[in-house]
């Protein structure tokens, strides 16, 4: 009966209750959407960094990352690569030889990291081949081809950006054009301190979602950079993609990759990119802060509505106490009313929020108007909303907790009523 009375009381003032329920639903929808937008953006950014930069796991010579000396190769790197590839958890792996140097053309010189890669294996690990926007992915040139980034091509004067509004014959917006097959000179310090120079020809231009990366990374063939360095089959880095990202956090698995070699440093993507780790870990907190702020605002709305309901019914509550309804039941009734009011909006908000997340998870949100700023931050032009299922359950729990907290004060105020005074009130 108490439940029935409480439920009916919620609908005594339909408009007021509907306003609160709508506010709760909209608050949740907005919160869930914001969370999923951030989550989607973060997931995409993380995925992109893993795919383009860090991979799931990297192996280096133990001291390589301290000063990035070219002489610090992975001992028997190619043998290790072959061993790593046999691990069932490993989806793809590749080796790289790295050098910090300069790339020059007639325009000038630009500081870059030169990545000597095995093109077909690199494609499996970083999907670099899919990011080529002009030219070819190491095809058509046998010796010293180089792949440069979109931003670097622009700085070197080999990218032409069409005037705004210019369209192709088919009416689509005109895309930038690039000059390829241009010669560049790479210079870097080889082991032993001698500066090495090499002439390369631009075979293609790639573009990732991170313009900073595109500006500062060039790719050449593994054997070309080894030859220029004066080495053979030497690698500084083994990059590994796993079938299951979570395995990257399995310390036993990581240790097994080093095969007991103390000269090796095996790191997962969180160790390699602490900023990613930080963002990933603080995201969970941010999500709860988002929701917390929204629910706090809703809490005051619910308390206000229920206080109004209690004050309006002073006489009735007094009567209930007079005829023998004890304080526990009065308290429970008001609590139930508040919980009903709060939790009706909860599932509606969660369902609509989920629907919205699914919708924009499929069609994406086009941020191309902010592409430049996004590229600086490593964010793509399309953001696909996404939110892990457990967040919905946690939000539902937060709504219930909010409802319980919101219920306490109005119920307490109802208990303060004295029947004789309440009945007398108008």
């Amino acid at each position: 009966m108490l439940t029935q009375v409480a439920w009916r009381n919620v609908w005594r003032s339909k408009v007021r209750s509907l306003v609160v329920i709508t506010a709760i639903s909209l608050g949740l929808i907005a919160g869930i959407f914001l969370m999923s937008f951030s989550w989607g953006m973060n997931t995409q950014r993380t995925r992109d960094i893993i795919e383009t930069r860090t991979s799931h796991i990297q192996i280096h010579q133990k001291h390589y990352k301290d000063d990035r000396k070219m002489s610090l190769f992975i001992p028997q790197g190619m043998k290790l690569l072959d061993e790593v590839k046999t691990e069932p958890e490993v989806k793809a792996a590749t080796a790289r030889i790295l050098a910090n140097g300069m790339i020059s053309n007639a325009r000038g010189g630009f500081g870059v990291q030169i990545n000597g890669i095995i093109p077909e294996e690199e494609a499996k690990v970083t999907k670099l081949d899919t990011r080529v926007v002009a030219g070819e992915y190491f095809e058509g040139l046998k010796t010293n081809p180089i792949l440069i980034g979109d931003k670097l091509a622009e700085k070197m004067g080999w990218k032409e950006i069409p005037e705004p509004g210019v369209k192709n014959e088919d009416g689509s917006p005109a895309q930038p054009t690039y000059q390829i097959r241009k010669k560049v000179v790479l210079a870097f310090q080889a082991p032993g301190g001698k500066t090495k120079y090499g002439s390369f020809k631009v075979v293609g231009v790639y573009k990732s979602i991170n313009s900073k990366f595109d500006e500062s990374n060039v790719f050449v063939q593994f054997e070309d950079l080894n030859r220029l360095t004066g080495t053979e089959n030497q690698a500084h880095e083994i990059a590994i993609m796993l079938n299951d990202q979570n395995m990257a956090e399995d310390s036993t698995f990581l240790a097994s990759l080093a095969a007991g070699n103390p000269q090796l440093l095996v790191e997962n993507w969180k160790d390699i990119s602490p900023d990613l780790k930080l963002i990933d870990e603080t995201f969970a907190i941010t999500v709860y802060i988002f929701m917390g702020i929204i629910l706090l605002a809703l809490l005051f709305g619910i308390v206000n509505t229920m206080l109004m309901a209690v004050m309006e019914r002073t006489k009735e509550l007094g009567m209930l106490m007079a005829i023998g309804m004890n304080k526990d039941k009065i308290f429970s009734m008001i609590m139930l009313e508040t919980i009903f009011l709060s939790t009706i909006g909860g599932p509606i908000g969660l369902l609509l929020g989920y629907g919205l997340v699914r919708l924009f998870g499929n069609i994406g949100i086009d941020l191309s108007s902010m592409a430049e700023a996004g590229a600086q931050m490593g964010i793509g032009t399309m953001v696909y909303t996404d939110l892990e299922t457990h967040y919905y359950f946690q939000i539902a729990l937060m709504v219930v907790v909010t409802a319980l907290i919101a219920a306490i004060y109005p119920a307490y105020k109802a208990l303060q009523l004295k029947p004789v005074e309440a009945i007398r009130s108008i």
């Binding site: 009966m1 009375v5 005594r12 007079a322 023998g324």
Partner: protein, 227 residues
Amino acid sequence: MSVIITKNIYKTYPGVVPVHAVNGVSIDITEGEFTAIVGPSGSGKTTLLNIIGGLDKPTSGEVIVNNQDISQLSNNELIDFRLHNIGFVFQAYNLIPVLTAKENVEFVMLLQKRAKEERDNRVAELLDAVGLGDRMNNRPSQMSGGQQQRVAVARALAPKPKFVLADEPTANLDSTSTSNLLDIMAELNRKENITFVFSTHDQRVIDRARRVITLEDGKIVSDVTRE
């Protein structure tokens, strides 16, 4: 047998000039009485009724209801005492607006955890008795003032209380409704031997009462029992 005994009770509201709402009242109401406490506004009749009903506590004096001194009970004990001993009828009907007539009458019995069959039988019996057997499923907003007050009487009687306290029960009713209501209450008083105590200044009620206690300035100025 006495069901209500007050011994020299006072109710004083403090202030710059303290107000003695009830000023040394001693009364003895026996089972089956149909009593009206009358007096002009401010004479203390509602305060006295509230004290008898355990809604208010006297500043001093004893209130013995069913051989129990209720002035010594805690607030929670008083609520429980009211639930099992007293039926209330209020001036402004005070039904639960979200419940139907049937549910309103049943409500107190539910609080008492009475069995469903007993509740159903009693509710049907009482709503028939007050002439609302056909309005069981109507909510208060769908009934007239007189009908609502009849539901309130049925509600007060549903748990078979020792006595019913009615505070100005006819104040908002027209003559016909008042007459009907008084007939119903007199009938139930006679049939079920339930004690009725009214506070009123409605002459129609006073005329039907078998005992009339008149208060002025919180004191009893007359106590007349009619045959």
